[in-house]
């Protein structure tokens, strides 16, 4: 499973790409693979205030439904409407066109975000 070096991760199997004060969020390839075909995503609407570690939406596959968690504190600026239309993009390209939402950071990103190495270790233990 790919775990791109430049991203940060959470134990909830989300990735976050931080560019200045803007964070893009998605789910990892490991999560997409474990879920199976994603059939519905409901990311938080633009303008929603999100808190790191709190549920802020949901993602459904054929077999299950999971909460989406925000990896950071801030305000949602944009959601990926194309993924809402075609949730299969999460499986096809979880780190690219399958991104879910963007957050304008309130302050610094949480210090407990995982590095690629730490996340790779986490999913290795789970296997």
């Amino acid at each position: 499973m790919a775990v791109p070096e430049q991203l940060h991760y959470t134990a909830e199997h989300e990735w976050v790409a931080i560019d200045g004060t803007l964070a893009s969020v998605g789910i990892t390839e490991h999560a997409a693979s474990a879920l199976g075909d994603v059939v519905y995503v409901s990311p938080p609407a633009p303008g929603t205030k999100v808190t790191a570690g709190e549920p802020c939406g949901e993602i459904e596959s054929t077999k299950s439904v999971s909460d989406l968690y925000s990896p950071v504190d801030g305000e949602v600026t944009e959601v990926n409407t194309e993924v809402e239309e075609d949730p299969g993009q999460v499986n096809a390209d979880p780190y690219g066109i399958g991104w879910l939402f963007k957050v304008r950071l309130a302050g610094q990103p949480p210090a407990d975000l995982l590095s690629a190495d730490q996340y790779a270790e986490l999913i290795k233990e789970a296997d």
Partner: protein
């Protein structure tokens, strides 16, 4: 996410090396480690509807009932009249408790006058074996759990017969729906049955465990240019749901009678002699149904799941037993037990009319429509 049991405690199918080579996502299912999907379960589902799918069903239980009184023992033990079954034919039936609750749904193959093969759900094989043994005591019949002596491979879908015909000398049009016969497939001896759980035409092959790998490989090669793909339990579940077929643990269970599930026709109250559950089921048959199994389609993309409440005017009126996104219909579908009054009210309400019927999906009512089961029926 899927509950994965520790792999060490799970039984392995004889096809486990094949699944590993194919990179399947494996899951614990009724004590077995089985393939959930090989790639996209939606693609596997569509392949079965349009071409063909290859399934490993080796987790299913096979219980042999043999002896001069085997038919009489099964007539007493099950709700169906198995003595009326001709050799070479099969029947869908159930084993019930004294109180009429369903202990398992079964396919029973009559292989010869005094030889039956009872195929049980993996989760219930031990219970079915124990009950059959107990119920057959006093009859001239022997009950043997032969699960470990069989692998079970299914080929399902419109191209299944054509693929199979290339690797067997058996005249497939002669193998009727719900019939079985010994056959050579890919040079291996199998019991070839025209049965399935997908809503498509298809075949199931019971074979010796050591023959499972070559049989699988031979079928996969024969189907390569006809769209045959390996298909896992995830696709099997959405296929059977679209076909309106019950799943034990969802639509069926010890607190459900065959009549609740709309399957009262399998209960042969007119067969001679007593059978376990007869008195209770005769009572149930006389009364109006206490609930009805209904099909629902959703207008939202959120998926109803097992256990969710069905609402009529925002008041609970039933429970979802199975729900999934339907690849064929393109919307979420569900089977649910409904209050009979609400079911008839909903049936009178034209589809697309009002939104009195809904499903409570994690706290939010999502509009649903009552539809006639099955959701999908293949063109004959």
């Amino acid at each position: 996410m899927t509950q994965i049991q520790p792999a060490g405690q799970l039984r392995h199918s004889p096809l486990q090396p094949v699944h590993e080579r194919l990179g399947a996502s494996m899951t614990g299912f009724a004590g077995w480690l089985m393939p959930l999907r090989y790639g996209s379960e939606t693609a596997e589902h569509r392949a079965v509807r349009t071409a063909a799918g290859l399934f490993d069903l080796s987790h299913m239980g096979e219980i042999a009932v043999t002896g001069p009184d085997a038919a009489a023992a099964l007539d007493y033990a099950l709700v169906g009249r198995l003595s009326a079954l001709a050799a070479g034919r099969a029947r869908y039936t159930m084993i019930c408790a004294e109180d009429g609750g369903v202990l398992d749904d079964l396919i029973v193959y009559r292989l010869a006058a005094a030889e039956f093969l009872v195929v049980a759900n993996a989760a219930n094989t031990a219970v079915v074996h124990k009950e059959l043994t107990h119920r057959a005591a006093g009859f001239g019949a022997e009950v043997t759990d032969r699960t470990s002596e069989y692998a079970l491979i299914a080929i399902q879908g419109p191209n299944g017969a054509a693929i199979l015909s290339a690797v067997t000398g058996t005249d497939l049009p002669e193998v009727k729906y719900y019939a079985s016969q010994p056959a050579a497939v890919c040079g291996r001896q199998v019991l070839l049955a025209r049965t399935g759980y997908t809503g498509e035409d298809g075949f199931e092959m019971f074979c010796a465990p050591q023959d499972a790998e070559p049989l699988w490989a031979g079928l996969a090669a024969a189907g390569e240019d006809q769209g045959l793909v390996p298909a896992g339990l995830a696709a099997r579940d959405t296929l059977r749901l679209e076909a309106g077929m019950p799943l034990y643990g969802n639509e069926l269970g010890p607190d459900v009678t065959p009549f609740d599930a709309g399957l009262g026709r399998v209960v042969k109250l007119d067969k001679p002699g007593d059978f376990v559950g007869r008195a209770a089921l005769a009572e149930v048959a006389k009364r109006p149904p206490r609930r009805v199994l209904a099909g629902l389609t959703c207008r939202s993309r959120r998926v109803p799941r097992h256990g969710y409440d069905v609402l009529w005017d925002a008041t609970p009126c039933g429970t979802v037993t199975s729900g999934a996104p339907s690849p064929t219909l393109g919307v979420p579908i569900a089977m649910a037990y409904l209050d009979p009054e609400v079911a008839s009210l909903a049936a009178e309400t034209a589809a697309g009319d009002s939104s009195r019927l809904s499903i409570d999906i994690r706290g939010r009512g999502e509009a649903a429509d009552l539809v006639t089961l099955p959701f999908y029926q293949r063109r004959q």
